[in-house]
């Protein structure tokens, strides 16, 4: 079937039966600036389509039509990688008719490719599209950068639909192959560029964060990872970016050039690419406009799909070669299990994204966090929700010292003469308790509202009603 161009959603539903295809997916590259998800789901709301199963790669606070559909009992199940805002809050308190399944970025791509996430219609916001259905995300008036999370959907959904506000004659080097696309819908606007860029991609100036970043860079350096050809992922957290800045200083001083940085890409990574400190950026998600601009002009800034990024069954998987990753934590426990899915009050406020993927694959996985957050110690007996298994986590770096997972005896041996403040995780917890006392662990509600599925398909934890 050739790609058909339509100019509104109504025309689409004259072509396909909206009541027949209940498993629908979206990507989140337009983040809080996305108009497409609400635009499409309003049709489902108006037409009272029931028993929907949603597969958005993430859910942001502006995706409020999901909330309307849930309240109207139109959604059975949601499978996603990350959620925060009103939808997260409502699901935490009320659950769904069915269940919430939290996957990883690599796990989602794998599930779609292997048919576990059986998607009927993929609605793909596409910033720059040609008449054959070829598309890139890094051009157009609402450019968002890489379309990495939408690639599996664009190949494996039963019906693939691009929604765009920029239709052109030809797209070079498309991320999305027009041969797979069934429909293009041209609309006035797919998003608000102000909301597309995350507001969180700033190097931290918070003194505690700066201290953690300094310790982190010193730790990575002492362990010998900062050498020619090393690979690294930091994400877009302020502390991780500050650590990246410090790592850059060490690289300059020792004339080190990294082979690649991967994952979500920011201005800071782009600057290091342009300075020649790193050879390639493998970008599954642009976090700011500098990254968007760079990906459109620098051949060494390479958009990749979520599958190539982190699908364990993809032989091209980038992160299998990852030396070091820095990740955050809402909570971590004595077994180094990490929670970035829910708060300690069981409210959903995030999700794995690539957390578990990269922790599993990287040779060195470092969690960075203040030891005490808003008077609550970050270290628990047991985290409220396991997002990433402790066996895949190597170090915790806080402002008061560093804990190494006892399973990593090689790291402990390397650091035995270090001037860094190395503790066991229980010793670090005791330092925190000295200030906070030992907080009572919240008793979980008995009702399970969802589960955390690792990229292996194992269910590694359940999510309870708040």
């Amino acid at each position: 079937m050739s790609t058909k161009i339509l100019y509104n959603l109504e025309s689409l539903y004259e072509e396909i039966d909206i009541f027949e295809h209940k498993n629908i997916s979206f990507h989140h590259h337009l983040r809080n600036g996305d108009f497409v998800l609400n635009m499409v789901l309003k049709k489902y709301l108006e037409m009272d389509v029931k028993e929907l199963n949603l597969f958005p790669s993430s859910i942001f606070p502006t995706y409020t039509t999901i909330l309307d559909l849930i309240k109207n009992d139109q959604i059975n199940n949601i499978t996603t990688n990350y959620l925060n805002g009103p939808v997260a809050e409502y699901i935490s308190k009320n659950g769904l008719i069915g269940k919430l399944k939290m996957q990883t970025h690599g796990g989602r791509a794998r599930s779609i490719i292997e048919g576990n996430n059986n998607i009927d219609i993929a609605y793909i916001a596409a910033p720059y599209v040609d008449k054959l259905g070829n598309a890139v995300g890094y051009k157009g008036k609402n450019a968002c950068g890489s379309l990495g999370y939408a690639i599996a959907d664009s190949k494996y959904a039963k019906i693939k639909i691009l929604i765009t506000d920029t239709l052109v004659e030809e797209v070079d080097n498309p991320e999305i192959d027009g041969a797979n696309i069934d429909y293009i819908i041209v609309v006035d606007s797919i998003g608000d560029s102000n909301g597309i860029v995350s507001g969180t991609t700033q190097v931290t100036k918070n003194p505690v964060g700066v201290k953690i970043a300094r310790y982190t860079s010193e730790l990575i350096n002492e362990l010998g990872y900062i050498k020619n050809g090393f690979s690294f992922q930091s994400g877009a957290g302020g502390v991780s970016l500050k650590a990246t800045e410090y790592i850059g200083e060490i690289m300059r001083k020792n004339n080190v050039i990294a082979s690649f940085f991967s994952g979500g890409i920011t201005k800071y990574h782009v600057d290091m690419l342009e300075e020649g400190l790193v050879e390639k950026l493998y970008d599954v998600q642009c976090f700011d406009l500098d990254a968007v601009r760079s990906i459109s002009k620098n051949k060494n800034h390479i958009p990749i799909s979520a599958s190539i990024y982190a699908n364990p069954n993809d032989e091209k998987m980038v992160i299998k070669d990852l030396d070091c990753v820095i990740l955050g934590a809402a909570e971590i426990d004595y077994d180094f299990n990490v929670n970035v899915t829910s708060s300690s009050h069981q409210m959903l406020m995030g999700g794995s994204g690539g957390h578990s993927d990269t922790a599993t694959e990287a040779k060195l996985t470092i969690i960075v966090s203040p030891l005490i957050k808003a008077r609550i110690p970050v270290i628990k007996d047991r985290v409220m929700t396991i997002t990433t298994l402790g066996k895949n986590v190597d170090c915790l770096v806080t402002e008061r010292g560093i804990a190494i997972n006892e399973n990593r005896k090689d790291l402990i041996e390397k650091l035995k003469n270090s001037k860094l403040k190395i503790y066991t995780i229980k010793e670090l917890a005791n330092i925190a308790h000295n200030y906070t006392g030992i907080p009572k662990q919240l008793k979980k509600e008995s009702k399970i509202i969802g589960m955390v599925e690792d990229r292996t398909y194992d269910i590694i934890d359940y999510i309870y009603k708040a």
């Binding site: 003194p207 505690v208 700066v210 201290k211 300094r214 402002e399 000295n434 200030y435």
Partner: protein, 274 residues
């Protein structure tokens, strides 16, 4: 001798809790300018309870009390006299206010760091430096230049004389000379330049109003690698020389230079640089 003195607001529990995190050699818990008037009681209660519960080894702790003429001066001193602190930082200091504070301290074993923050006080700096029980003198350049009615500049020529005379007075009486804080919290590069200027004039240390400044200040006011190496060579050669003065690398080395080298080694050891 400390390299860095970090100001921490006395009414901020989060900052107090982390006062030993930022690697400052000394912290100055502030009851004065960073605490608004209606929060002064709260700061006193908070700091009293905090310091009664927690001990901080290897960290000097001072409290900047309110100035002698304020209603809070007496309350600040009385509520903290029995706490485990090293002493007081005294704003708007003059010779008489130091005497009065010393009387209140009595035998409690606390020292004083007066802040020179007016042209008049600067004229008394020699007398101030000679007072009993002083740990050092701190230059408060913001108020000082305000009274002089001149703007602060990056070049800092407006405080060149004040820095020079304070440094000389402190050196003469063997007490710490503590430079004024660098007020641009994000400009670490110029913080380094400013710190080096103070060090070149003889300052032993610098105060800071932001924890992110401490690392740079510690680096600048610690002996450099080459200074340490040179000091070690001087002290080593001095042990084998029978004469009071000798030549090293074509330069004359005598007793004051040997003493200075010994002090450098002592400081390097204190900060784990050896």
């Amino acid at each position: 001798m400390s390299r860095s003195y970090l100001f921490i607001p006395g009414n901020n529990p989060n900052m107090l809790q982390n006062l030993d995190v930022f690697n400052a050699d000394a912290v100055i818990i502030d009851f004065e300018d960073s605490v608004i008037s209606y929060d002064k009681d709260c700061a006193r209660d908070l700091v009293e309870n905090f310091l009664k519960k927690y001990n901080f080894e290897n960290l000097e702790i001072y409290i900047r009390i309110n100035d002698f003429e304020s209603n809070d001066f007496l309350k600040d001193v009385q509520s903290t006299l029995d706490l485990n602190i090293n002493g007081y930082v005294l704003p708007k200091a003059m010779p008489e206010s130091i005497d009065d504070l010393n009387k209140l301290i009595g035998t409690k074993g606390k020292t004083i760091i007066p802040i020179i923050e007016s042209p008049l006080a600067l004229l008394f700096v020699r007398e101030i430096a000679s007072k009993d029980n002083l740990h050092g003198i701190l230059l408060g350049a913001e108020d000082f230049t305000k009274e002089l009615n001149v703007p602060r500049t990056l070049e800092a020529s407006e405080i060149f004389y004040a820095r020079s005379i304070i440094s000389i007075a402190c050196n003469a009486f063997n007490i710490d000379s503590i430079d004024t804080p660098f007020t641009n919290t994000d400009d670490i590069s110029n913080l380094r330049v400013d710190s080096l200027k103070a060090k070149q004039l003889g300052f032993t240390s610098k105060s800071s109003i932001h924890p992110n400044h401490v690392e740079t200040i510690n680096q600048v006011f610690a002996p450099s690698k080459s200074e340490i190496e040179n000091a070690l060579r001087i002290v080593t050669k001095a042990k084998t020389e029978l004469k009071g003065a000798f030549s090293l690398d074509g330069k004359m080395v005598d007793l004051p230079i040997i003493k200075k080298a010994e002090k450098t080694i002592e400081t390097a050891k204190k900060y784990n640089l050896l």
